[in-house]
């Protein structure tokens, strides 16, 4: 069931790094409980969009609101408190190398002194079961884990503060099809059990179709006209195949490679 009020609200968002504009006039509202997949080619600004939502990247212009509050207007303490309402699963999990799995999962709780030691341990074991990892991994270091296990530890760490929104950056990249499907199942289970709002940045169409309620496709600005919107598609995944935009159909069918090669050959003269 999708609620009407937007939990995450991006209005006319633009992000520029030096002379390079990555996002231009992007407006997306994500209602509480919705699972949004942001798809698009590498370099179209998907990860920047995700980092802007949590305030890791400051917008050049436009408004980014979470539950009606803008990161730019908050004090250091409020930013910290606001971020505890998010869980962020990074592309390569971004686990702390110098800490064990247990220390990694418990880090947010210890940092915010959220609960007592016994409650922390209970929460950790419960989440470990939830993401399908045995207790034996707790004393291991991230370097000793496989890619899929690292992602699951990353998900457990993202969920330990009971967030209202979970942001996933390329959750299935670098995984084999079976492990990708395990991660897809975990994302769905997380959404259903914890009733979180999810934003998933991915170029894996299986993930977008299987997990998302809604799909937004971004396009790289260097191949758009100035008056064109950067969002090529915004709708339920079931309508993706009906899109009349050739760039969308090429992307979802994985056929854009030859066009890309043509463009790069033209650019090279």
């Amino acid at each position: 069931m999708v609620a009407a009020s937007p939990l995450i609200d991006l209005q006319n968002l633009s992000v520029r790094f030096g002379r390079q504009t990555v996002l231009r006039d992007v407006s997306i509202s994500v209602p509480a409980g919705q699972t949004l997949a942001v798809i698009g080619e590498s370099g179209c600004g998907k990860t920047v969009l995700l980092k802007t939502i949590i305030g890791l990247v400051a917008p050049t212009s436009g408004v980014v609101e979470f539950d009606g509050r803008q990161f730019g207007n908050l004090s250091e303490r409020d930013v910290s408190a606001q971020r505890t309402r998010f869980g962020f699963v990074f592309q390569n999990a971004a686990l702390f190398d110098s800490m064990t799995v247990a220390e990694n999962i418990l880090f947010p709780l210890k940092q915010h002194r959220a609960t007592g030691d016994a409650d922390q341990e209970r929460a950790m074991h419960s989440l470990l079961t939830e993401v399908g990892l045995p207790n034996t991994v707790l004393k291991k270091y991230p370097a000793e884990l496989s890619g899929g296990m690292r992602k699951r530890v990353g998900l457990a760490r993202a969920l330990i503060m009971r967030p209202e929104a979970v942001l996933y950056d390329e959750p299935t990249t670098g995984l084999d099809p079976i492990m990708s499907d395990v991660i897809n199942e975990l994302m769905m289970r997380t959404r259903d059990k914890f009733e979180v709002t999810s934003v998933i940045v991915t170029h894996d169409m299986n993930t977008a179709r299987k997990v998302a309620d809604r799909v937004v496709m971004l396009y790289p600005l260097n191949r758009l006209q100035l008056d064109e919107s950067q969002i090529l598609f915004d709708g339920p995944p079931s309508e993706l195949d009906a899109s009349t935009d050739r760039r969308v159909t090429q992307f979802i069918r994985g056929e854009a490679g030859d066009r890309m090669m043509e463009l790069s050959e033209q650019a090279g003269g």
Partner: protein
């Protein structure tokens, strides 16, 4: 023909006027980048200092940093200090013997160790062994998004990562300096007495005569400034690491190079300032050559 009208032609032909203006523009861009970098690093240092006073770092992270930065550096600093004292003895002996002043060797070795070599050697060791390692570690954390992960979990990366390292450099470099001085004094005395045959009594008396409490303060005061600079430069280079393995390598190298250049420049400035302070309070100092 005016300069304004000839300039496009110069540009097209790549003539001397064009090359000069390009050179000036490049130099200006370098200066602007340096000023920007210095300003950015000052803000970074200011943020670290503010966090240091507003909230202490977690005890486990501080103790871990202190162990790596202080305890693990101690043996290397001790070895380098001892051999530097002995080398000083070897190098100075011939010169002093020509004047019949070999019993004064202790004075010059100890003075050099206390005021100059102790703090500079300890700082150079810290920059090389610890500074570049810190830059590489923080650089790797930046590249693998671990610093972003800290922020995403509501932790402040400067408070969590920079403050413990900065504090450890600041608080432990005096101990490393004292160790370098102690071992240098010991090494010099050992070589002079055992290998050069200088009478221990005279060596010891002259050593004590020329070294004052001020000299110890002089060395330690310098070392604290060096420690702060190494801590900030190394953490800053790590935090602003460029992507990839090359970026991490460059962060480690530049952390050492910038720290070392800063140490040498600050050493001169601090020596001038501290000498002026000394002369203001004690205008007549004991001299190695008959004072």
């Amino acid at each position: 023909m005016s300069t304004g009208s000839s300039y496009p032609n110069e540009r097209a032909s790549g003539g001397p006027l064009w090359r000069i203006s390009e050179g000036i523009a490049d130099f200006g861009a370098v200066v602007i980048r340096m000023i920007e970098g210095l300003g950015d690093m000052t803000l970074f240092a200011w943020s670290a200092i503010l966090w240091m006073f507003s909230r202490l770092p977690r005890r486990d992270t501080l103790i871990n940093s202190m162990y790596v930065i202080g305890v693990q550096s101690l043996p290397v600093v001790a070895i380098i200090g001892a051999f530097t004292g002995m080398v000083l003895a070897v190098q100075s002996y011939t010169q002093f013997r020509n004047f019949g002043l070999e019993t004064q060797l202790g004075g010059v070795i100890n003075k050099s160790m206390f005021r100059e070599l102790g703090p500079v050697l300890a700082a150079t060791m810290l920059a090389g062994r610890v500074g570049s390692a810190m830059a590489a570690e923080l650089g790797t954390m930046r590249v693998t998004e671990q610093i972003d992960a800290l922020s995403a979990m509501g932790a402040n990366p400067i408070h969590y990562l920079v403050v413990p390292r900065f504090l450890s450099c600041l608080l432990l470099i005096p101990s490393l300096t004292i160790m370098a001085i102690f071992m240098g004094v010991l090494g010099g005395a050992f070589y002079c007495v055992q290998f050069l045959g200088i009478d221990y009594h005279h060596y010891s008396t002259n050593s004590q005569r020329f070294v004052e409490n001020w000299d110890l303060f002089y060395g330690v005061a310098k070392s604290v400034v060096f420690g702060a600079v190494i801590g900030i430069i190394s953490c800053y280079r790590g935090f602003n690491c460029l992507p990839g393995a090359e970026g991490v390598g460059r962060a480690a190298t530049t952390a050492f190079v910038y720290s070392f250049v800063s140490i040498i420049i600050l050493d001169l400035l601090l020596s001038i300032v501290l000498d002026h302070i000394y002369l203001a309070f004690w205008p007549v100092a004991p001299s190695l050559f008959g004072g």
